[in-house]
Amino acid sequence: MTLADRVMDRSEVVEESRWRRLVPTPKVAIVAGVAALVGYLALVPLGYLFWGTFFDNEGLEFGGFRRAYGNDRMGELLQNSLSFAIGAAVLSLTVGTTLAYLNVRTAVPFKALFFAASIVPLIVPGILYTISWIFLASPDIGLLNTALEPIFGSAPLDIFTIWGMIWVEGLHSSPIVFLLMVAAFRSMDPSLEESALMSGATRLQTLRKVTLPLVRPALLSSVLIILITSLESFEVPALLGLQNNIYVFTSRIYFVLRTYPPDLAAAGALAVGLLLIAVTGVAISRLLAGRGSGTFQTITGKGFRPRPMDLGRWKPVVGTGILLYFSATVLAPLLVLVYTSLLPFYRKPSMDVFSALTTDNYVELLHLDQAQTALRNSLMLGVGTATLVMAVMAIAAWIAIRSRIPGRGVLEQLTFIPLVIPGLVLGLALSFVYLRSPIPIYGTMFILLIAYCTKYMPYGMRYATTSMGQISSELEESALVSGASWWKTFRRVLLPLLAPGILAGWVYILVVSFRELSSSILLYSPGNEVLSILIFEQYENGQFTVLAALGVVMVLTLVVLVTIAYKIGARVGLRND
């Protein structure tokens, strides 16, 4: 064949596709970059964690495990962790489900209070919530103890017990259950219940035999979420449990690292144990949910507005209960925080105290460089994390949902891995990585940025995939057929359509990174404190009044951010639950 023949033989099309093979298109480059980044964030910390736990300079070794779980500590740790998690789950599930049922299905009074209470976990970070409850129910300085002393004798409440831990964690989580169950009750066709009533079942029988079995999937996922968040919870066990040597996994890890010299291998061993429990929990719930799915087709995505049931003579009782709940979850913790922030030094309330209230603490904050740095760091990290996560997850969501690239399912799974990594474990794993890696970011803000990006990747992915799922693929295909390239289609059609969802995710991630504590506690270095770390330090130093003022500032900032998040969320039909 002559050269001329060969040239003639090749059509233009073939020529073009050969070029494409040599030079990566923007699509290939971007997709590969995103996949690599997600893989790096999800897998590298875990790899280093296992390596650092099981290997030292001499090779495989289990000394870390011996030191972590030896001396019968294993049994105690497991017992404490599980009773804490299960106790908190039982409390929050009972309270949350009851409130959700009342709210959706009955003509309950004070409905506005429900949603005020439901945003508490977002606007009052766990650390502030825990400290508030210390102010309320510590045996020494607790305001409630003072109030109850005349009736029950001295210090009837002790927050520094496993019951105290369960109380604080359970109350703080109950709004999460509430929101999940409200969604479940709303999406259930009320005629299912009505037909049970028509068949002659009593209200209670209907509840037991129809309503609860139908919302079982939502109940199961609530249980699981609360169990895992309680297991991962750091602030409650650290602030309440360490006082009386009640250790759970997270506080033990912190304790092991804080003693000198820090025992990294033992901390790693504990982290691996905690990770295993979390993974087991997720696996069990998948199994249960998988068995249940398909059976529950009756629950549609439709929103129903059933006629609310009249409570009759129970109304005053239920109303009182709700006021009590609201006082305990919202009012008391916030009021005690504000009260403390206005004191010159911490003491119990009396007439003298109220006449001596002062704003000195806030003035002091203005002069406290540390506080301003921390506020700035928290905001910067929040904005940076939110922007990076949403940008990368928008592409990742496209790959997972729209593309037919092989391995897209794996990519989606990878983005959800951090969901089962407790914050403290992630912090530990990242310090393993960057203590050993030549990248000099240990002790800088960048390591915090990486930690936050990893931790909130799943949330970003969920927002991005949800909004991607709402966009018909025909909108994208019609752009392709119109002649637009992949990147042009993405930029001009997908991105504008995704924008509301991405914005909602952005604000949500900004909110949650703004208050992050459990990963930061192992990764920050002096000078790089974020807001929650500064509060933690001030608590340990006993600076309660300045801390309270800082806490109030933090809550106010979060109120602003959460309000924006809800405004956007309501507009695009996404909820921050």
């Binding site: 090749r10 059509s11 099309v13 073939v14 596709s17 018909s472 025909e474 909108l475 295909e477 019609s478 752009a479 392709l480 057929v481 119109s482 002649g483 637009a484 390239s485 992949w486 042009k488 289609t489 001009r492 059609v493 504008p496 359509l497």
Partner: protein
């Protein structure tokens, strides 16, 4: 104009790829060896029930599906070729095929105005091929004018009514003046009244603008009303290809006869033959009909009788061919017609007659079957 040769697309087949041919049996063929040709200016319909492969075929032409093998050419441009004796593989991406497509949901971009939606295909062209801003405005205006959307040009696209959205989708597909227009059930989202008026509108536009179009639908009436040619598909294969009247009056098999309109089937054997005039012996008596099929006396056949090919009366006309007697079993008033179920021997026939004829159940009736409207379909 458009040529499809031996198009194959299997779904589970993606995994089986690379394995030996014999192993790929688990693959489900969405499109199995489909070939057809569409001539310039023709409106060609792919008709079939859902899952028959008609949409997959259309999406393969658009470049949104990647077929396993076959060849697709538009004019002299090869859009796709792979396998067989086609030489090198070619698969032009959807955004380089330059075709127009109207999607089932219309896929109108909700964040753009009507004008921007239509301008998009021109704006995204390569810089060297992109018309100037003024030219874009002029061309978009012209298309909007044709589609009678000029007053809505600056409106948000989502604020349009169903019919307007449909015209907008059409305008966007036509603005680049594509050689071929692909229509994926474009009328299925509309209510019955609007669907009917838009059907004629579409036909008029297609004829006036001389567009070559492929139309996918599961609605046989739409297909019959609109098309120059129909390809009836089932299970990934084209089972009949022909003009609407041919497909309706002489269905190639039982599936086509049943899918397009309703039909009564009756088994029989050829009793006598004189050129195209046949006598078929059935359980209910002799039937006289015309067919060019290659059949000899004694062959087993199935006769297909359309409900409207039967005339119904209370009295016999006497010595007429194809007159049977029966008994009305049920009837239903449909507005523009009356359906009767008539028992003839052991069989029940569905008969559709003018509303002026309405015979109560239980009555003895006579049925006359028009020999020119009875067709034979292959056995099995």
């Amino acid at each position: 104009m458009l040529n499809i040769e031996k198009l194959v697309k299997s779904f589970a087949g993606e995994k089986a790829r690379g394995r030996r041919r014999g192993d790929a049996q688990a693959a489900v063929f969405a499109v199995n060896d489909v070939s057809f040709e569409v001539k310039e200016g023709e409106l060609f319909t792919l008709l079939g029930p859902s899952g028959c492969g008609k949409t997959t075929t259309l999406r393969s032409i658009a470049g949104l599906e990647h077929p396993d093998s076959g060849r697709i050419t538009v004019g002299d441009r090869v859009m796709f070729q792979r396998g067989g004796d086609h030489g090198r593989s070619v698969n032009l991406p959807a955004n380089q095929r330059g075709l127009g497509m109207v999607f089932q949901s219309y896929a109108i971009w909700p964040h753009m105005s009507v004008f921007d939606n239509v301008a998009f295909p021109l704006q995204v062209r390569k810089r060297s091929e992109r018309p100037s801003k003024a030219q874009i405005t002029e061309r978009v205006d012209r298309v909007l004018e044709t589609m009678e959307l000029t007053p809505q040009a600056s409106r948000q696209a989502t604020k349009l009514s169903g019919g307007q959205q449909q015209r907008l989708a059409l305008a966007r597909a036509l603005v680049i003046e594509p050689p071929l227009l692909l229509l994926d059930e474009p009328l299925s989202n509309l209510d019955a009244k609007l669907r009917e008026s838009l059907r004629y509108e579409l036909k008029r536009l297609q004829r006036e603008l001389g567009i070559t179009a492929i139309y996918v639908t599961h609605d046989q009436i739409e297909a019959l009303a609109l098309s120059n040619k129909i390809a009836v598909m089932t299970a990934g294969e084209v089972v009949q290809l022909g003009k609407p009247r041919e497909v309706y009056e002489s269905p190639a098999n039982k599936f086509v006869a049943e899918f397009i309109g309703t039909s009564n089937f009756m088994p029989g054997t050829i009793g006598a033959r004189d050129a195209e005039h046949l006598t078929v012996e059935t359980a209910n008596g002799k039937l006289y009909l015309q067919s060019a099929a290659q059949l000899v006396v004694g062959d087993e056949v199935v006769v297909s009788i359309r409900p409207e090919a039967v005339e119904l009366s209370r009295t016999s006309l006497g010595a007429v061919k194809n007159e049977w007697s029966g008994k009305v079993v049920a009837r239903a008033f449909l507005g523009d017609a009356v359906d009767h179920v008539v028992a003839v021997g052991k069989q029940e026939l569905r008969v559709r007659v003018n509303p002026s004829v309405s015979i109560e159940p239980g009555s003895e009736v006579y049925l006359r079957l028009d020999p020119t409207k009875i067709s034979l379909v292959p056995v099995g």
